[in-house]
Amino acid sequence: MVITVALDRSPEDARPWIEAARPGHPALIDSAHMLADLYNMVNVPTVLWIDERGRIVRPNDVAFGDDTFRRLTGLDAARRLDALREWVRGGVRPFTDEQIRALQVRPSAADQEARAEFGLGEWLYRQGRQQAAERHFVRAGELAPHDFTIRRGTMRMRGLDPMGPEFREMLREWTQAGRPYYRPLPDAAGQDRPGG
């Protein structure tokens, strides 16, 4: 069972992607970033595996369905898909409960303050109060500079292009300071290599 959730400004922003994919699975829209708050997601794509009892067996990870972005991300899609098949077909769990807890990143107070600022900004935006919303989106990004669901995910609401120069400048400044844009789980079967 696949469930996809678009952390997008509106259903209309997600619609072309969903309609092109013609999914047979639930394809949901989360403009308020409820899922990001519940699971402490700070970027997309973020993938989790949840078992038949509703328990997390693989925590937040970066995973792509193919290698389109491999040069950018250094992630090997095939390796993750193999592990997924082993779990789905063979019930092979990638981690023990203790390993999962050790790999989970729990939100800090500042992360949750940023989400409250985002929540207020998003609500104000829906009321047509763009200028007021802007203050809170900016504040949210300052509180959690590593949270790109906020910094990049609010760009359309702020009249900025999330693929444009403002994003490229944000990414350059972030990565030049030695900080990763994607934070994949360590891969026990072998290390992913940027550019690999």
Partner: protein, 132 residues
């Protein structure tokens, strides 16, 4: 407008300087917390009020004091008369550490509501993505 973890509630508030006061009745009706000698109480749970009596005044309870007492983040916009009360980091962290996948219910493009829990009994690959 007070938004309680995503749920907007229309409340009457008194703004004085940079402080927002909610009546004791409003706090009980909107948030479910009752003012008692022990502090703020809901069901069997009571939390002491942070900073003691300065949080309670003639116009009720100070919203920032409520947030601090409950350890919940507060985003405030006095000019817009709007506030967002978020979820405490320790609460989110503790929920994740149980390894129970937090349940959610969201709409699809057709306006149909789907929850995670309705797929209990199946393995789920949960994928968050975006068009940006």
């Amino acid at each position: 407008m007070l938004i309680d973890a995503g749920r907007p509630i229309d409340v009457h508030a008194t703004i004085a300087g940079d402080r927002v006061w909610l009546s004791v009745e409003t706090v009980k009706r909107a948030l479910g917390w009752e003012l008692k000698p022990e502090g703020l109480c809901r069901g069997d749970v009571c939390v002491p009020l942070r900073a003691g009596s300065a949080v309670v005044g003639a116009d009720g309870i100070d919203l920032a004091g409520i947030a601090a007492s409950l350890q919940r983040p507060l985003a405030l916009d006095l000019a817009e008369r709007a506030a967002y009360l978020g979820v405490a980091a320790p609460e989110r962290g503790a929920a994740l550490a149980t390894l129970e996948a937090p349940d959610f219910a969201l709409l699809d493009l057709h306006g149909r509501l789907h929850s995670l829990s309705e797929h209990r009994g199946k393995k789920v690959l949960l994928v968050a993505y975006a068009s940006w």
